[in-house]
């Protein structure tokens, strides 16, 4: 296949590089990745992570705390109602991007 070096392909290619190389990429890029990944989270946790009711609001929680919890859920070493099942769908760089994004949201 001939690789066309057009603007059309560039964003996708950089997007993939960004996801794979998550630990090395900039804060802003990781927040943007996390925002896209976080689309699935807001259905329960609220827009930008500002939820109401029993499901925890995750906006503005520190990145370290969020990442620790998400990884513990995935490793089944912490109990949750459903998060220990959901976390299995995410890789390390994805969890990191999510933690970066939701920690960057202002608390309400």
């Amino acid at each position: 296949m001939i690789e066309r070096k057009t603007p059309r392909n560039l964003p996708l290619r950089f997007g993939i590089i960004a996801l794979i190389a998550a630990p090395g990429i900039s804060h802003a890029a990781q927040v943007a990745n996390g925002e896209a990944l976080g689309d699935a989270c807001t259905s329960c946790h609220g827009i930008g992570g500002h939820g109401t009711g029993y499901i925890p609001s995750i906006a503005g929680v520190s990145k370290v705390t969020l990442l620790q919890e998400l990884k513990a859920f995935r490793a089944q070493s912490a109990q949750a109602t459903i998060m220990n099942r959901i976390a299995r769908a995410y890789t390390d760089p994805e969890l990191e991007a999510l933690a970066e994004y939701f920690s960057s949201r202002p608390r309400q």
């Binding site: 603007p7 059309r8 392909n9 560039l10 964003p11 996708l12 950089f14 997007g15 993939i16 590089i17 960004a18 990429i25 900039s26 802003a28 890029a29 943007a32 990745n33 925002e35 896209a36 990944l37 689309d39 699935a40 807001t42 259905s43 329960c44 946790h45 609220g46 827009i47 930008g48 500002h50 939820g51 109401t52 009711g53 029993y54 499901i55 109602t81 459903i82 099942r85 959901i86 299995r88 769908a89 995410y90 994805e94 949201r105």
Partner: protein
């Protein structure tokens, strides 16, 4: 929240230094693209709000026949008397206030070549991108004797609203000791665990108010989702009250007589006090009329963008689609709307769509403080959507009362948050 600019979203990476030169002309030219959305349910409203939150320049029109929307999720709670229907009904006021043009009319025709939608009143709307989210319509002749008039006597209540209220009134006025029949069609249908949650919450009402009554589920299928969890809950909460008849034991409803409330399977006739007959379903009429279902009843879509396999520039979301292993649920439609929204924003900017993470999280209530869930992730594989993991998808059997109570609280919190995302 402060929406990320479209530029940030598309690039999302180290490309930002070079990209403004490459993308700026496309960005400017695409300003004010016209997005028309047919259907104001979980798919359509989620998409309209998502696009508006990410791009204030788009001209977004939402076509919805009804002035008010009642959610199917949580409508079984109305049947069980947990809360009034007003608590799960929403107007489009805040959708309009968000800068979305809500047109309360029925869409009757789509012209893919001219890129227009015709409304019942004769008006024609031009679109650059069309998203069809019509939900389901019923296949009335799937059960002999069942039709729109019969549904006034034997409600389906599978589109929430007047039918939900009708079924609730029938439950309230039935005598103690009566038989409630729930007829369940073959898959695929909207909300696969719905009939069994419905049986549970009707049992909750009957146990407290009409304890001699019984519920019989006449099912076209031989198994159902979260079956062990439902059976466990029925055994614990409503012993002897709910009977399930699978398809292989003559469970499939073949015909009904609305005037005598008789429901017939291959071998048996059931005389009901209340008959809740759920007929077979297909994509909403507008999708079928536009040929988006290719005669199959449901619409094939690209699993990344949700663009129709039939017509370019037209997208389909939610219950009307064939979405691989994703079930027909409000949660699915909401997630699909965001994936489709990103794909449309990418298309406007002239970039390729990136596959989204899709989930389906579905709580079922067995009583107000007893719920359980199924949690699924979906990824694109072989041009379709497949489960990310196949084990430990549900609440475990034998979970404690405390766990079931926390699931019920989570369910209520989910409902508040997802409806706020759409209607808040």
């Amino acid at each position: 929240m402060k929406p990320l600019s479209r530029r940030n979203f598309i690039l999302s990476s180290a490309a930002s230094a070079a990209a403004p030169f490459l993308l700026a002309p496309v960005y400017a030219a695409a300003k004010g693209a016209r997005v028309v959305i047919i259907g104001g349910g979980f798919g359509g409203v989620s998409l309209a709000r998502y696009l508006r939150r990410h791009d204030p320049t788009l001209a977004i029109t939402l076509i919805e026949r009804d002035a008010q929307y009642t959610t199917c999720p949580f409508s079984n709670g109305v049947l069980g008397g947990l809360y009034p229907i007003s608590q799960i009904s929403f107007t489009y006021a805040k959708v309009k206030a968000a800068g979305i043009d809500v047109v309360n009319e029925e869409a009757v025709n789509i012209d893919p070549a001219a890129k227009t939608v015709t409304l019942a009143g004769g008006r024609t709307l031009k679109f650059d991108y069309l998203v069809v989210c019509p939900g389901i319509d019923f296949i009335w002749d799937s059960i002999k004797g069942y039709n729109e008039q019969a549904a006034e006597l034997m409600p389906h209540a599978w589109k929430a609203g007047a039918q939900t209220s009708l079924l609730r009134r029938q439950l309230e006025s039935m005598p103690d000791g009566g038989l409630v029949v729930i007829g369940v069609p073959a898959m695929p249908y909207r909300c696969p665990p719905g009939p069994y949650e419905r049986a549970s919450l009707i049992a909750y009402y009957l146990k407290a108010n009409k304890p001699k009554s019984k519920i019989i589920i006449l099912d076209a299928s031989d198994a159902f989702i979260k079956q062990d969890l439902f059976m466990e809950a029925w055994h614990r909460l409503y012993p002897g009250m709910i009977e399930w008849v699978p398809g292989s034991k003559s469970g499939r409803v073949l015909s009904v007589n609305p005037s005598t409330l008789t429901v017939s399977t291959g071998f048996d006739d059931y005389k009901a006090a209340v008959a809740n007959i759920i007929p077979a379903q297909r994509a909403g009429a507008i999708a079928v009329r536009a040929g988006l279902d290719e005669g199959t009843g449901y619409c094939a879509i690209d699993p990344v963008t949700f663009e129709s396999r039939v017509h370019k520039g037209i997208y389909v979301l939610g219950d009307a689609t064939i979405a691989g292993e994703m079930p027909k649920s409000g949660f699915s439609a909401n997630g699909q709307a965001k994936a489709c929204g990103r794909a449309i924003l990418a298309a406007i900017a002239g970039s390729a769509a990136v596959p989204a993470k899709l989930l389906n999280i579905c709580y079922s209530m067995a009583e107000p403080n007893y719920a359980f869930s199924i949690v699924d992730g979906f990824a694109v594989k072989d041009d379709s959507l497949h489960l990310t993991f196949e084990d430990n998808r549900t609440t475990p059997i034998g979970a404690s009362d405390d766990e079931h109570s926390r699931e019920a609280q989570s369910a209520r919190s989910w409902y508040a948050n997802i409806t706020a995302e759409m209607f808040g």
